[in-house]
């Protein structure tokens, strides 16, 4: 196999593996939104507060997935 193809292969596999980290962010977002929706259903008066906190939590959970994205973008576009 010629070196260029090997490099591309390695990059693609590495970027794909790095994005596994996004699964954690997905699970976290799902849990927090699920909990928030339940809370809003039981207590509609506090929707605004719950929503704000939910968005904050979702943002923190998403940040982890974003780190994974950063790693895979670096592997794909910056590594030579």
């Amino acid at each position: 196999m010629d070196p260029q193809s090997t490099i591309i292969l390695g990059k693609a596999i590495g970027a794909g593996l790095a994005m596994i980290g996004a699964a954690g962010g997905g699970i976290g977002i799902g849990l927090s939104v699920g909990g928030a929706v339940q809370a809003m259903g039981r207590n509609p008066d506090h929707t605004a507060t719950i929503q704000t906190n939910m968005i904050l939590g979702v943002a923190f959970a998403e940040a982890v997935a974003i780190y994974a994205l950063v790693v895979s973008l670096i592997i794909l576009f910056v590594l030579n």
Binding site: Q4, A48, T49, T52, I55, L56, V58, A59, E62, A63, I66, Y67, L69, V70, L73, L76, F77, N80
Partner: protein, 470 residues
């Protein structure tokens, strides 16, 4: 008017669908070329006064600012000065609804003493990011642009100069003369067809040369025959003519180097001119099949160290350089420069409002040594403060990459879907419409929340501030 359009609208949709089918069948779909950093404009498109090359994302953000400033002018012109004027109506109300709704929304989160500053920040970031995100829905953005070789600039530290290299890092002769514009009037050159036409031209030239040679040979033979038989009168012997032809090699060579090669060259030159004309009309200059085309060969570093693309675009080495579209305008949120700048502005504003609200005491949030020797767990407070410090800087990263990642992924989704289903990519445009709103809201809302958190003191008066805020 309404009833008129209600009847016709579905026909417009049908026509657009048929047009989509037609275009999808006529135009070969192009595999999207994805590049993370904003693409530099070619030479000759530098910014005035400063020595900076335009990038297409920069053009996008300039357009965003111009549109926003137009909105500002419009809204401030239409706003009624006193309550008795005629309601402005129309587009103006959209902004009123937006401001009323979001004011209530932000008021619920950060409705304290610093509401004005926080809301101004929120609204500015929201509108800028919203405009930037929605640009990916505009037709022509990301798709219309220069067609240029698949190259970028690279700094050569040894020679202290910039070199043009392919995006895979291989050197190319500097010069961008191969640029042509997309005007919908270009040919797709098939390398196989070109090779066949070349072979046919070669054969034609050969036969033209042979024809001229034959003609000349016959003439020469006739002249010699005349010279030989002048003295003997007009008797013609078949054997003589045959013998003449047999020992005539010398004369043939002399004839070939003269007029016959001229005929040969003429045919080849005509073919060359035709080729050049085709190349001028082609969608890319130079016969360089892209990765999506027949005849494409991947780049081989060992073979082409110093290819000269520009002097001879038809050279074998140059043919292997792929050609891509460099859009005139690209979505600004797909460039890390734009999102990072916004994140830095948000970060600075968060620290600013913290100092404004708490004075120098704001720093105790990060460097909390007050309880170090008083309480048995004072060390934990120090560690928490340092974590807060790191967390604040991590905000820059997460802010910028959240927006970049979502919008960049969204625009790649749109490219790929337009490639896979050229007729019906619009459900994804609807998806991207909402993603744009949500990301703009998240960016602005997190700024507002963090700004509000920065105004709240960490210590004993924590509860008091909370009570005041709500």
């Amino acid at each position: 008017m309404n009833s008129f359009w209600n009847g016709k609208r579905r026909f417009v949709a049908l026509l657009m669908f048929l047009a989509g089918v037609f275009v999808a069948l006529r135009v070969p779909p192009v595999i999207p070329f994805i590049q993370l950093p904003g693409e530099n404009f070619p030479e000759g498109f530098d910014m005035p006064f400063v020595d900076i090359r335009w990038t297409n994302t920069m053009v996008g953000s300039v357009i965003v600012w111009i549109v926003l400033l137009l909105f500002v002018v419009y809204v401030s012109r239409r706003r009624p000065k006193d309550g008795n004027e005629v309601p402005p109506g129309g587009f103006y109300y959209l902004f009123e609804v937006l401001f009323e709704g979001l004011m209530g929304f932000v008021g619920g989160i950060a409705g304290g003493r610093h509401f004005r500053l926080i809301f101004n920040m929120f609204m500015t970031i929201f509108l800028v990011v919203l405009m930037a995100n929605w640009m990916e829905l505009v037709p022509g953005v990301d798709t219309i642009g220069f067609i240029h070789p698949h190259v970028k600039e690279k700094y050569d530290a040894d020679k202290d100069e910039y070199k043009v290299v392919t995006t895979d890092g291989y050197e190319i002769y500097q010069g961008f003369l191969g640029i042509s514009y997309v005007n919908g009037q270009c040919d797709w050159i098939s390398p196989a067809d070109e090779a066949a036409a070349d072979a046919a031209a070669l054969a034609n030239a050969e036969s033209a040369k042979l024809a001229v040679m034959d003609e000349l040979a016959v003439k020469a033979a006739y002249a010699r025959y005349k010279a030989e038989h002048n003295g003997h009168g007009d008797e013609v012997h078949e054997e003589d003519a045959g013998d003449d032809h047999g020992d005539d090699d010398h004369a043939d060579i002399a004839v070939e180097s003269d007029e016959a090669s001229a005929a040969y060259d003429e045919v080849l030159a005509a073919r060359e001119a035709e080729k050049q004309a085709r190349r001028d009309r082609s969608c890319y200059t130079g016969v360089a099949p892209g990765p999506w085309q027949e005849g494409y060969e991947p780049y081989d570093k060992s073979k082409a160290k110093d290819i000269s693309l520009h002097p001879d675009p038809s050279a074998e080495e140059a043919k292997r350089v792929p050609w891509v579209v460099l859009p005139f305008v690209r979505v600004p949120s797909t460039d890390l420069n734009m999102t990072l700048t916004l994140a830095l502005i948000a970060f600075v504003m968060i620290q600013f409002i913290g100092f404004k609200a708490l004075g120098i005491g704001y720093l105790t949030k990060f460097f909390n040594f007050s309880t170090l020797f008083k309480s048995p767990l004072g060390g934990i407070d120090v560690a928490v403060g340092l974590l807060e410090l790191i967390g604040d800087f991590a905000k820059i990263l997460s802010f910028s990459f959240r927006l970049l990642g979502n919008i960049f992924a969204g625009s790649i989704l749109l490219f790929v879907m337009s490639f896979l289903v050229p007729i019906l990519p619009w459900p994804f445009f609807i998806l991207e419409f909402f993603v744009g709103v949500i990301q703009a809201l998240v960016f602005a809302l997190l700024t507002a929340i963090f700004m509000n958190l920065a105004t709240i003191s960490h210590h004993h008066d924590d509860d008091h501030d909370h009570a005041e805020a709500h």
